[in-house]
C-alpha cells in the first residue's frame, strides 16, 4: 500500500448526507452511488423509483433547481467512429462490449438527469437503467414542470417513452421523421457519403513524416 492509498479519503459531509437521505427513503431502489469528494455526486436508482427519487430530492434535500434530463446510449458505435477512418464503415459491424461509466449499469439505455440545490450549491447526477427493447419511464413533469421539453427531446432522439407526459410530440425533428438520431446505431449520413475534410487538408505537424509537403 502506498501512502496515497492509505490516506483517508477527503470527507464530503453534504454529499454523504444526501446519499444517506436517499438510502433511507428509497431502500433497495437505490442501486449504486458514488461521491467524488468536493467535486460531484452520482446515484443510480431503479426506473420504478424514478419519480420518487425526484420527489425526495426536491422536498427533503432542497434540490429545487431542475438542471437537465437526458439519456445515454451505451452501445459502442457499430460504424467504427474513428478519426483514422476516411469515411465511416459502410456496413455496420457487430458492436463491441458495452462498458458503463460511473455507478455502472446493466442495460443499453440509461437515464441521466441532474438537479441542483441553489442554496447549498450541491448538484446530483441521477441515473436509471431502462429496458432495452421498450425503454419506458415515468415522467417528471409533476415534480419539475421544466422536464417537459427535455423529455420530448429525449423521446425523439432516443426513442424513450415517458409515461404520463401530456404532449410527447417531436420537439426538433419534422413530424414525419423516422428513427431516433441520437442512438448509436443511427448512421451519421454526412460521414458516410463524403470523407471528413479535416483529414484531407491536414497540415503535418513538425517532426511528422512530411512526404506530402515535399511532393507538392
Amino acid at each position: 500500500m502506498t501512502e496515497e492509498e492509505t490516506a483517508a479519503p477527503e470527507a464530503d459531509a453534504a454529499r454523504d448526507a444526501l446519499v444517506a437521505t436517499l438510502t433511507e427513503a428509497l431502500g433497495d431502489n437505490l442501486v449504486a452511488s458514488e461521491v467524488k469528494a468536493g467535486v460531484d455526486l452520482w446515484v443510480r436508482v431503479t426506473s420504478q423509483a424514478w419519480v420518487e427519487t425526484a420527489q425526495v430530492l426536491r422536498n427533503q434535500c432542497g434540490m429545487k433547481y431542475f438542471n437537465f434530463l437526458s439519456v445515454i446510449d451505451w452501445l459502442p458505435s457499430p460504424f467504427g467512429r474513428d478519426m483514422d477512418a476516411q469515411v465511416d464503415q459502410p456496413d455496420p459491424v457487430e458492436p463491441g462490449e458495452m462498458t458503463w461509466g460511473i455507478t455502472g449499469g446493466q442495460t443499453r439505455f440509461q437515464m441521466l438527469a441532474r438537479l441542483h440545490d441553489p442554496v447549498n450549491h450541491v448538484g446530483i447526477n441521477i441515473k436509471a437503467d431502462l429496458d432495452d427493447d421498450q425503454p419506458t419511464i415515468d415522467s417528471w413533469i409533476t415534480v419539475y414542470p421544466g422536464a417537459n421539453w427535455h423529455e420530448r427531446e429525449a423521446a425523439e432522439m432516443f426513442g424513450v417513452h415517458f409515461t404520463g407526459h401530456p404532449n410527447l410530440t417531436k420537439l426538433y425533428l419534422p413530424g414525419a421523421f423516422e428513427g431516433n438520431p441520437m442512438r448509436k446505431d443511427f448512421p451519421l449520413l454526412a460521414r458516410r457519403v463524403k470523407p471528413w475534410p479535416g483529414l484531407v487538408d491536414v497540415e503535418p505537424l513538425p517532426g511528422e513524416d512530411d512526404d506530402e509537403t515535399e511532393a507538392s
Partner: protein
C-alpha cells in the same frame, strides 16, 4: 403524503395563477397568431404559435428545430480539440464563454490544470464575451419596445469589445482560442492598456442606457409588472442567469461554483432584483455589464506572469470517466456532461444550454398576457436560437 401534496399544490397554484390571467367569463371565439419563424424579437428563428382571445393570449406554443444542428451527435465524431470549433456556434454572441466549460470538463478528466496566467486571461475573455453579448441585449430590448436609438449605440460600442477579443484570439465571433491545458497564445503587446480605454467606453454606454432606456417612462410602463416569474417556478423550470437572479434568487456560479476561473479572487457583487418582471431582468443585466467591467479592470491589474499552456500530449486522449462542468455564461448556466471511454473522441456529450430551459417557461409565462407584452417578455428573457436548438 405531504411530499406529493406539496408538489401538487405548486402545480395547482401555478395553474390557477396562469388561468387567473385569462378572463374565462367573456371568452369569445379565438384567433391563432403566428409569430416567426423570422421575427426581430427572436434572435434567430423561433416560431411561436399563440392563440388569442381578443387581445389576450390564452395559449402559446413555441415551435423549435429550425436551427437544430445536432451538435451532440457531431461531437461523437470529432476529436476533443475539434469540438471547440463546433460549440463556439451555440451562443454565437458570447462564443468564447461556450468553450470554457467544455475545456474544463475535459481538463478535469485528464487531470490537467491550466497555468494561472491562462486562467486569468480566460476569465478576462470570458467576461468580455459577456459584455459583447449583453450590451447587444441592452440596446435590442429598446428596439423591441419602439426605441430605435439604443441599438445603434450598442452596435457601436460592442465593436470596441469585439476588436479587443479579435486582437487576442483572431476571431470576432468564433475565437476557438481555448486549448485543453491553457490557451493558444499569450496576449498581444499593448492590449492591456487599450482594453482599459474600452472598458471606460462600456461604462459610459451603461450610464447612457440607464438614462435613455431604463429611465424612460414608456419603457417602464411596458416592462414593470409584466411577465412576473416567481422564484419557485423559475427554479422548477430550470431558469438561470439574470432571469433567475431577477426573481430574487441569489445564485451565481461564478461566485458559488468553485470550479476553474478566478472570479473568487476578484472583488465584485452579484446583483439580484426582487420583482421578477421584465424590467428586473433588464436592470439586472445592466448591472452585470458594469460588474464585468469592474472585474476585467481588476484582472488587467492582476494577471500573473508565466506560461499560458500546460504540458499536454500532442495527441489528446481523454481517460475514461464522466465529468460535468457548468459556468455562468452570458445567457445563464451552460454545462457539458462528457462521457469519455478513453478514445480520441467523446463517447457522449450532453450540452446543457441556458436558453433551452429559459424558453421552456414561455407556454406558462405567456398565458394570459396581452399581445404587446409578448414581445416585451420574449425580449427580456433574452435567448439566442443557437443556444436553444444546439
Amino acid at each position: 403524503m405531504n411530499k406529493a401534496t406539496d408538489t401538487q399544490q405548486l402545480a395547482y397554484i401555478a395553474g390557477q395563477a396562469a388561468d387567473a390571467r385569462v378572463n374565462l367569463e367573456i371568452e369569445t371565439e379565438g384567433m391563432t397568431l403566428n409569430i416567426g419563424p423570422q421575427h426581430p424579437a427572436t434572435h434567430g428563428t423561433l416560431r411561436i404559435i399563440v392563440k388569442l382571445d381578443g387581445e389576450q393570449v390564452i395559449a402559446a406554443e413555441p415551435m423549435m428545430g429550425y436551427m437544430h444542428r445536432g451538435y451532440e451527435k457531431l461531437t461523437e465524431v470529432r476529436t476533443y480539440p475539434q469540438v471547440t470549433a463546433l460549440i463556439n456556434r451555440i451562443d454565437w454572441l458570447g462564443s468564447f464563454a461556450n468553450e470554457v466549460p467544455f475545456i474544463q470538463a475535459a481538463e478535469n478528466l485528464m487531470e490537467v490544470e491550466a497555468p494561472p496566467r491562462a486562467q486569468w486571461i480566460r476569465t478576462a475573455l470570458f467576461e468580455m464575451s459577456r459584455i459583447a453579448n449583453v450590451v447587444l441585449f441592452l440596446g435590442d430590448m429598446g428596439v423591441q419596445l419602439g426605441a430605435v436609438t439604443p441599438v445603434f449605440f450598442a452596435f457601436r460600442d460592442r465593436e470596441f469589445i469585439l476588436n479587443q477579443i479579435e486582437a487576442v484570439t483572431g476571431g470576432r465571433f468564433h475565437p476557438n482560442f481555448n486549448r485543453i491545458g491553457g490557451l493558444k497564445d499569450d496576449l498581444p503587446k499593448g492590449w492591456i492598456e487599450e482594453t482599459r480605454g474600452v472598458l471606460g467606453r462600456i461604462q459610459n454606454f451603461c450610464d447612457e442606457i440607464e438614462t435613455l432606456v431604463a429611465g424612460n417612462e414608456i419603457f417602464q410602463a411596458r416592462t414593470r409588472g409584466i411577465g412576473i416569474i416567481p422564484a419557485d417556478m423559475g427554479l422548477a423550470y430550470g431558469l438561470s442567469g439574470a432571469n433567475i437572479r431577477s426573481s430574487g434568487v441569489d445564485w451565481d456560479i461564478r461566485r458559488d461554483g468553485g470550479i476553474g476561473l478566478v472570479h473568487n479572487e476578484l472583488d465584485w457583487k452579484v446583483w439580484t432584483h426582487p420583482d421578477g418582471d421584465s424590467y428586473a431582468r433588464f436592470w439586472v443585466r445592466l448591472q452585470e455589464v458594469r460588474e464585468s467591467c469592474i472585474m476585467i479592470e481588476q484582472i488587467l491589474d492582476g494577471i500573473p506572469a508565466g506560461p499560458v499552456m500546460a504540458k499536454v500530449p500532442r495527441i489528446i486522449k481523454v481517460p475514461a470517466g464522466e465529468s460535468y462542468v457548468e459556468t455562468e455564461n452570458p445567457l445563464g448556466v451552460m454545462g457539458y456532461y462528457i462521457v469519455s471511454q478513453g478514445d480520441l473522441t467523446p463517447f457522449r456529450v450532453k450540452i446543457r444550454s441556458a436558453s433551452f430551459n429559459n424558453v421552456s417557461i414561455t407556454p406558462w409565462l405567456l398565458k394570459g398576457v396581452y399581445v404587446p407584452d409578448v414581445v416585451s417578455i420574449l425580449a427580456s428573457l433574452y435567448f439566442i436560437l443557437g443556444d436553444i436548438d444546439r
